[in-house]
């Protein structure tokens, strides 16, 4: 019964979600293996962000099942906090805590949630900041940082919890083009180190280079999926082709 890394680390089976009368997800199923980089693309309103939010239980589902490392996510007996320690999420609006410095933002969760030793956490936080190429900005407040810098601090903040899976919800959508690159480089390095990443993104170039598997969603269903080479070169479904012709 225990989960092994031979099994998918994240598994969605026939997930359905409706907000009131409006059905956002109409039966989503896919598996993610450990270490894979999954990119979910599609037009707005297709349910991409909702999928991510269902995986870390920010949003409950109506039907179907989602398992993370073998554990059913929407099991009422599950302690959500335990799940969140395994699954980290980075948002489009970065959502850094404005009243704390960059370093403190990274340190807060390990100290208060994981109850780790303050000195050790500080060392690790400094390393993480260096890793996202913001060494020297430890004592800056979010208001003093650019959008791209804030987003990288947000990534470091999630990494401080040592998650097994990282979810990225259109993290570059609110940034201007020059700063998008610095964030994508950070994510790419993460992926190359073996972190399992699920990204909802509009960055097709990034998806093509770094992704292991691309999923195209439209109106709540997965229309087509495949490895990037095949997917971008020869998409089969007409909807996919139309979408790709508009964004590429």
């Amino acid at each position: 019964m225990a989960w092994t890394s031979a099994q998918p680390i994240v598994s969605l089976k026939n997930v359905r979600k409706a907000f009131g009368d409006f059905e956002v997800l109409k039966g989503i199923s896919f598996d993610v293996k450990k270490g894979e980089v999954i990119c979910i693309i599609g037009p707005s309103g297709s349910g991409k962000s909702t999928v991510l939010r269902c995986i870390n239980a920010l949003v409950p589902i109506n039907e179907g099942s989602i398992t993370v490392e073998g554990q059913e996510v929407h099991d009422p007996r599950l302690n959500k906090l335990e799940l969140r320690k395994k699954v980290g999420m980075v948002f489009q609006q970065y959502n850094l805590f404005p009243h704390r410095t960059a370093l403190e933002n990274i340190m807060m969760a390990p100290i208060h949630v994981l109850r780790q030793n303050k000195e050790k956490v500080r060392e690790k936080a400094i390393k993480l900041l260096a890793k996202v190429r913001l060494a020297g900005k430890e004592n800056s407040y979010p208001g003093e940082l650019s959008g791209g810098q804030q987003q990288r601090v947000a990534i470091a903040r999630s990494l401080a919890m040592n998650p097994d899976i990282m979810l990225f919800d259109e993290v570059t959508a609110a940034l201007d083009p020059e700063t998008v690159k610095e964030v994508l480089v950070t994510i790419r390095e993460l992926a190359e180190e073996g972190m399992t990443c699920l990204l909802v993104t509009h960055e097709m170039g990034f998806a093509r280079e770094v992704g292991d598997h691309i999923y195209f969603t439209d109106r709540g269903v997965i229309v087509e999926h495949g490895p990037p080479k095949e997917f971008f070169a020869s998409a089969k479904d007409p909807r996919t082709r139309e979408f790709l012709s508009q964004v590429l």
């Binding site: 870390n56 959500k80 959502n95 805590f97 208060h112 949630v113 947000a154 999630s158 919890m161």
Partner: protein, 299 residues
Amino acid sequence: MSAKPFAVLPPAAAPVATPSQWADWGLWDAPKRIFTPRVLVGLVAAFGVCLLAGEAYAQLNGQQRPGVLATIWRWLPLILLGPPGEVGGFLLNILVSFLTMAIGTVTGIILGVLQVSQGLIVRRVAWAVTQFFRNSPWLVLLFFAILLLPFRMNLFGEIVPFPSWIKAVIGLALPIMANIAEVTRGAINSIPTGQWESAESLAFARGQTFRLIILPQCVKRMLPPWMNWYAILTMATTLISIVGVADSMTLTQQALAAEGGRSELLIPMYGMLLLLFFLYCYPIARWTLYLERRYAIVT
């Protein structure tokens, strides 16, 4: 303002001051002085008029007793500090305002947090309590406290006297509690939902989220309306004179009576009382404006 589901309740606290309001008062630059020359001139002029009115009246009626200004000067220590050996007068007004604000703030913040609690019953009860004390006249609540609280209590076997002014503090703390609860709730609701989401994603428990992330950000937003309520409360402390506490209002009236009801003292003495409160509350109002500007929330 979105459509209210239950439209018999007053709307939430007033919005933050807008730049145009400040501009007209010449407050675009940080206030260098609390009392600008114009204000000082106005104050001196107003009080001078009161004194002159008193003197003129005295002259008209041929009174020969000590002058108005001298009389006021004689009574001033009593009205400011109260009878010797006791705390009374204006000092008592200030003391009551401090105590009431302290009690009201603590209970109000708790009540405000309860209003956003996840338990439905807790939320409803907290909301009802807040609305009840917000919409009741302060004087009625004051009478309520004075008449219905015991004048002494049995605490752990000790008999503790419960003097009137303590009961007045409790009576005034009730509406303050409700209004601070509203301010707290408004501040909590103004924190972007993204903060809640990212805290949740980082596995913070709800209590931790409040303590470490939400409430610290609320403090800045709450400060200007909190100061505003303090000013309103200080002015409301004069109500305790109606229920017999020896504050500055009562003592002024007693001083007037002791002077044998000299009519020429009426305007100057009441004028002086108004001046005292003005001197205390006006700087607070200015400081509140300054804080509003400094902490202006860009939405």
